[in-house]
C-alpha cells in the first residue's frame, strides 16, 4: 500500500499496462520528454523510450486518427488529448469514426483504444479549458465512457479501459491531479460499468462523478453531523456501461435520488439517470429526483465566479437537506 497522487496514478496505470502488453503504445502532445502538461505522465518516456511513448505535433485529428488506425490493425493505443475541450477539434473521430466503424463494417473492424483527457473546472482557466464534456461522449452509441475519482480507481479503470475491446474515453479530472489516496501494491484491474457505494446510507442516494465525488462525500458527512441525515454516496465511475443495477439498488433502499454533475444544466448524464429511475423505479421514490449541476453558462475564469457555479459541498448538502425536510 502506498499513498499516490491522482497524477502519479495516471503514470503508474499507463506503465502497468505498457509493461504487461508490448502492443500498448502511448502518444500525445508533450506527454513524453516533458512528462505531460499536468505532469501526469512523468517517467514513461524514460522507462519505455521514444518508440512507445511519442511526442506529437499539435494535431488532434492526427492523434486520434492514428490511434484508430493503429487500433484497427492490432495495437492498443492510449492517446492523450491535453484538455477535453479540444475534443471539439477532433470530434469527427469521437463521434463518427471510432464508434461507428464496427457497426458500419458489420463487425469486420475493431477499435480498441483509449483516449485520456483532462476534464473539468477548478483551475481558473476559463470557458475553453475548464469544461466537463463527458456528456459529449456519453451520447454517442459505440463508445465507453469512464471518469475515476480516486488514484486507485485511475489505475484500475485505466487498466480495464486498455484491456477493453471497444474505444474508451477516459476522463481525468484536472482538479483531482494533486489529490492523494491509498493505492494497493501490485497490479490493479477494475471492471467497467461498476459503480461504487462509497458511503452507505438510508435516507438519500447522492450520485456523483469525478471531482463531485469528494464533494458529495463531504456533504454527506455534514448532513449526518449537522442534520442527522444519512446519505448514501455512489461514485458512478463509468457512464457507459452504466451500472444501473447499483444505482437502482441504492434508490430502492433510500427512496430519494440526487445527482451531482459538473456539467452545464442541459442534457447532463444526471438527467439520463433521473429519467431511467423515473421510468423503471418510480414507485421506489418518495420525492422528486433532484439534479445538482452548474448553471447553463460558459465557465467564467475568476476564482470567485468559478467557485460560484460549480456544485459545492455547501450547495449539495443544502439541496439534500431542503428537499428531505420540506
Amino acid at each position: 500500500m502506498a499513498e499516490l497522487t491522482y497524477r502519479e496514478a495516471v503514470a503508474r496505470g499507463i506503465a502497468q499496462e505498457m509493461t504487461r502488453d508490448p502492443d500498448v503504445i502511448f502518444f500525445g502532445e508533450d506527454v513524453g520528454k516533458a512528462g505531460g502538461v499536468f505532469k501526469s505522465t512523468v517517467g514513461l518516456y524514460d522507462q519505455f523510450g521514444p518508440r512507445r511513448v511519442r511526442d506529437c505535433p499539435i494535431s488532434e485529428q492526427a492523434i486520434l486518427g492514428a490511434a484508430m488506425g493503429a487500433a484497427m490493425t492490432g495495437l492498443k493505443p492510449i492517446a492523450e488529448i491535453m484538455f477535453s475541450d479540444f475534443f471539439a477539434v477532433c470530434f469527427d473521430y469521437i463521434a463518427n469514426e471510432f464508434p461507428k466503424s464496427r457497426y458500419m463494417s458489420n463487425g469486420q473492424l475493431k477499435c480498441p483504444l483509449v483516449v485520456r483527457t483532462a476534464n473539468g473546472a477548478g483551475s481558473r482557466f476559463g470557458a475553453q479549458h475548464s469544461q466537463s464534456v463527458e456528456n459529449w461522449a456519453m451520447m454517442i452509441p459505440g463508445l465507453k465512457v469512464v471518469a475515476p475519482s480516486t488514484p486507485r480507481d485511475v489505475i484500475g479503470l485505466l487498466a480495464a479501459a486498455v484491456r477493453d475491446p471497444d474505444p474508451v474515453i477516459f476522463f481525468e479530472h484536472k482538479s483531482l491531479y494533486p489529490m492523494k489516496g491509498e493505492v494497493p501494491d501490485g497490479e490493479i484491474v477494475d471492471t467497467l460499468g461498476t459503480a461504487k457505494i462509497l458511503r452507505p446510507g438510508k435516507d438519500a442516494t447522492i450520485l456523483a462523478l469525478a471531482l463531485m465525488v469528494p464533494r458529495a462525500l463531504e456533504a454527506a458527512d455534514r448532513l449526518k453531523a449537522e442534520h442527522g441525515i444519512d446519505a448514501e454516496v455512489v461514485d458512478v465511475r463509468s457512464l457507459v456501461p452504466l451500472d444501473t443495477q447499483t444505482i437502482m439498488g441504492s434508490v430502492g433502499r433510500t427512496h430519494r435520488l440526487f445527482t451531482v454533475e459538473e456539467n452545464p444544466r442541459l442534457c447532463g448524464w444526471g438527467a439520463e439517470i433521473v429519467s431511467i429511475v423515473a421510468d423503471e423505479a418510480f414507485y421506489d421514490l418518495d420525492g422528486p429526483p433532484v439534479r445538482i449541476t452548474t448553471p447553463h453558462i460558459p465557465l467564467p475564469a475568476a476564482d470567485a465566479l468559478e467557485d460560484a457555479v460549480l456544485p459545492t459541498v455547501e450547495r449539495i448538502a443544502e439541496t439534500v437537506r431542503r428537499s428531505l425536510q420540506s
Binding site: 492526427a62 486518427g65 492514428a66 484497427m72 469486420q108 473492424l109 471497444d166 457507459v240 456501461p241 431511467i276
Partner: protein, 349 residues
C-alpha cells in the same frame, strides 16, 4: 477565376520510339486491364441498377478514374492496407473483393459486404485489406497513418495506401496526416485523385496552388509527384516506387494522379457545371480503358487474350447482378449487433 486547363488531356502520348515501362510484362498488363475493365463494368452496372431503382441511397462512381485503383491495386500485396472514400467502389474491387459483394451492398441486400449496414459509402472488406471507406472528407488520412504506424512498430513490411480526392487537400486532416507521416517516416502512400472537381466546383477556383497535392508536398519534405492518372502503367510504376520507398523504411509518398470523372459527383448529379466539350474530350482522348487497349496492342498482346479477360469480367458482373437481385433484404436481427465488441448494443448492465 478561370478554370485551369485540363493538362493531362492535352498532353501528347510518348511516341519517341522508346516504349516506357516496357518491363511491366504481359502478365501484369493483362492484370491491369482486367482490373480496370472490371471496375468499369461493375460501376456501369451499378449505374444501370440505379436507373432500375435497385441501387438505393446515394452512390459515387469513378468512371474514368479506373487506372488509379487498378494501378495501385496491382502493385499492392496481400497484407497491405487500403483506405478509401465514399467514392471507393473501384479501390475495393481492385483489392479483389467479389463484384457480388460490392453490388450487394449497393443494393443493400443481405449478400452485401456489410449486409446492408454500411451502404455504398462505407465498403469494407478486412480480409482483403480494405479497412473501410470514409465519408467524412479527410478523416481517413490520419487513420491510414495509424495503420502505417502499426506496421513500422511491428517491423512488418506492409504498406498502407490512402486514396482521396483533390478537394480533400484543403481540409486540416490532410495537413496533419502528411506532417505526422513525414516526421515518423511512416510507410504510407497518399494518393490524390485529382479529377479537377471538388463536388461541383472546379478545384482550381478554390485552391491557391495549381497542383493541389503536388505543390504541397514540399511543405512536408516530400518530393512533388504528379502523374498521368489515366495511364495504368504510369500509375503502377509510381505505386511500385512509392511502395519500395515505404518498405525500405524511407517514409511516406504523396502522389497526385491527374484524371477526370465521367459521371457526376454522385447519383443525383448530372454534372451540368462542366464546360461544354470537356467531358467529350476526356472520353475521346483519355479514357483509361481505351488507352490501355491500345497499349496492349502496341505490346503485342493478342485480341484473343483481351477478349478472354473481358468475357471473364462480363461473366462475373452478370452473375453478380443475378445473385444480388435474388438476394434477400438483410434480416432485422442484425440491427442491434456489433455496436460493441461483445456483439451487442447494451450500454448498461
Amino acid at each position: 477565376m478561370a478554370r485551369k486547363p485540363a493538362r493531362a488531356a492535352t498532353r501528347a502520348p510518348a511516341t519517341n520510339g522508346r516504349r516506357p515501362n516496357d518491363d511491366i510484362g504481359e502478365e501484369v498488363r493483362l492484370k491491369l486491364y482486367h482490373s480496370q475493365f472490371r471496375i468499369r463494368q461493375a460501376e456501369q452496372r451499378a449505374y444501370d441498377l440505379f436507373l432500375q431503382n435497385l441501387v438505393k441511397g446515394t452512390s459515387h462512381l469513378s468512371l474514368g478514374q479506373e487506372a488509379i485503383a487498378a494501378g495501385f491495386g496491382c502493385a499492392m500485396k496481400k497484407g497491405d492496407h487500403t483506405f478509401c472514400t465514399y467514392r471507393g467502389h473501384a479501390h475495393t474491387l481492385a483489392r479483389g473483393v467479389p463484384v457480388e459483394k460490392v453490388l450487394g451492398e449497393l443494393m443493400q441486400r443481405d449478400n452485401g459486404l456489410m449486409r446492408g449496414k454500411g451502404g455504398s459509402m462505407h465498403l469494407t472488406s478486412a480480409e482483403h485489406g480494405v479497412m473501410g471507406s470514409y465519408a467524412i472528407i479527410g478523416a481517413h488520412l490520419p487513420i491510414a497513418c495509424g495503420a502505417a504506424l502499426r506496421a513500422q512498430y511491428k517491423g512488418d513490411k506492409d504498406v498502407t495506401v490512402c486514396f482521396f480526392g483533390d478537394g480533400t487537400t484543403n481540409i486540416g486532416a490532410f495537413h496533419e496526416a502528411l506532417n505526422f507521416a513525414a516526421i515518423w517516416k511512416l510507410p504510407v502512400v497518399f494518393v490524390c485523385e485529382n479529377n479537377y472537381y471538388m463536388e461541383y466546383t472546379p478545384i482550381g477556383d478554390i485552391t491557391a496552388v495549381p497542383s493541389p497535392a503536388g505543390d504541397r508536398a514540399s511543405a512536408y519534405g516530400l518530393p512533388k509527384i504528379v502523374i498521368d492518372g489515366n495511364d495504368a502503367d504510369a500509375v503502377y510504376r509510381a505505386a511500385q516506387e512509392a511502395f519500395a520507398k515505404a518498405r525500405a523504411g524511407d517514409g511516406p509518398s504523396l502522389i497526385e494522379c491527374l484524371t477526370y470523372r465521367h459521371s457526376g459527383h454522385s447519383r443525383a448529379d448530372p454534372g451540368a457545371y462542366r464546360p461544354k466539350g470537356e467531358l467529350e474530350r476526356w472520353k475521346k482522348d483519355r479514357d483509361p480503358i481505351n488507352i490501355y487497349r491500345e497499349r496492349m496492342k502496341q505490346f503485342g498482346i493478342t485480341q484473343a487474350d483481351v477478349e478472354r479477360v473481358e468475357a471473364e469480367v462480363n461473366h462475373e458482373v452478370e452473375s453478380a447482378t443475378e445473385a444480388c437481385k435474388a438476394a434477400p433484404n438483410p434480416p432485422m436481427d442484425i440491427l442491434f449487433t456489433d455496436v460493441y465488441a461483445d456483439g451487442g448494443w447494451a450500454w448498461r448492465n
